[in-house]
């Protein structure tokens, strides 16, 4: 670790000092250096393919018959469909969420839940008022309606209320 520079500065300094004063350790260190020199010499010898161009050709021939194993997600990402689909999903959720009414569910007038007394009639009244506000917009908005038609529809609705 010392030879390969894998020690921190403090440990390295401690070993340096010891090697300067210890004959047996410094001879062991000399042996290790000899090993290191032999390994470095071996590392210089870089075996290369006998015919690099031929190896590249073989690799390219092999991949011709193999298609990348794209996952559904990567395909969506590549075609940028994911972003479009997320936007459409959000719009649909927003549209349908507004159309859910609390009146579709049977709710008793008063009930106690975990010790909390719920004022159901007040909650229903608030929800109905909220629904009335957004109802005009979602009701007027249809896929084929122009902006002008939606505006006229909403105006007439507000006049009625």
């Amino acid at each position: 670790m010392y030879l390969y520079g894998e020690l921190n500065a403090a440990d390295r300094a401690e070993i340096d000092e010891h090697l300067a004063n210890c004959q047996s350790c410094s001879s062991v260190f000399a042996e290790i250096r000899r090993l290191n020199a032999a390994i470095s010499l071996a590392a210089e010898d870089r075996p290369l393919p006998p015919n690099t161009a031929n190896l590249t050709r073989l690799v390219m021939e092999n991949i011709e018959s193999v298609k990348p194993s794209f996952t559904l997600w990567s395909m969506l990402w590549e075609s940028r469909l994911a972003v479009s689909m997320a936007a459409v999903s959000l719009m649909l959720v927003a549209t349908f969420a507004q159309e859910v009414s609390v009146e579709d569910y049977h709710v008793p007038n008063e009930q106690t839940l975990s010790g909390v007394r719920l004022n159901v009639s007040e909650f229903r009244s608030l929800a109905t008022r909220q629904k009335a506000k957004v109802f005009s917009w979602s009701d007027c908005r249809t896929p084929l309606a122009s902006a002008g038609a939606v505006k006229d529809c909403m105006r007439s609705h507000f006049k009625q209320n």
């Binding site: 090993l35 071996a42 870089r46 393919p49 690099t52 190896l55 590249t56 193999v66 990348p68 194993s69």
Partner: protein, 193 residues
Amino acid sequence: MNPAEERECIQKAASGDHRAFRQLVELHSGLAYTIAFRMTRDVDESEDIVQEAFVRVWKNIHRYDAGFRFRTWIAKIVTNLSLDYLKSPRSKKWSGLELVENMAEPMNANTVIESSELKSAVFRLAEQLTPKQKAVFVLRDLEMMEPEEVCKALDMQDGNMKSNLFHARKKIKEGLEKWYQKEIIWNAGNVKS
């Protein structure tokens, strides 16, 4: 090719561009072959491993994690394929006796050791290592990869990597000591005769 160009090539290859992939093959096939050969010591097997490695890269290039250097990813795939080969029955196994017999004899009576003989001795001794020790030794000491890169390439914890490296270096050192002694005896015999 600088890192930005390499990244661009990877992106193009991920979208199916063969020309960009070819550039990556030309850039990294040398490294892939060197690692494969150092692990297997077999030319044909190394070429097969390189081909298989690049097919795997092509199949999975869209999964490439930019947190890895591309060369580390290639090294990981090649090393895994080489380890599979070493565990397979078709891999060549060297016994201790064969190793000593196959070590190059010094060709002159000088005490200066020929560098090619020394290299040959190191490569033969590397054959005695376990597959994991060999993989660590090849990537760290011969390919000179950073310790973090070696850990990533071999899916190893730092302590495990250092332990394998320590044992690999120890075996090579002990083998070289025997080889040096053998050479000294051989030279002494030559001088007497």
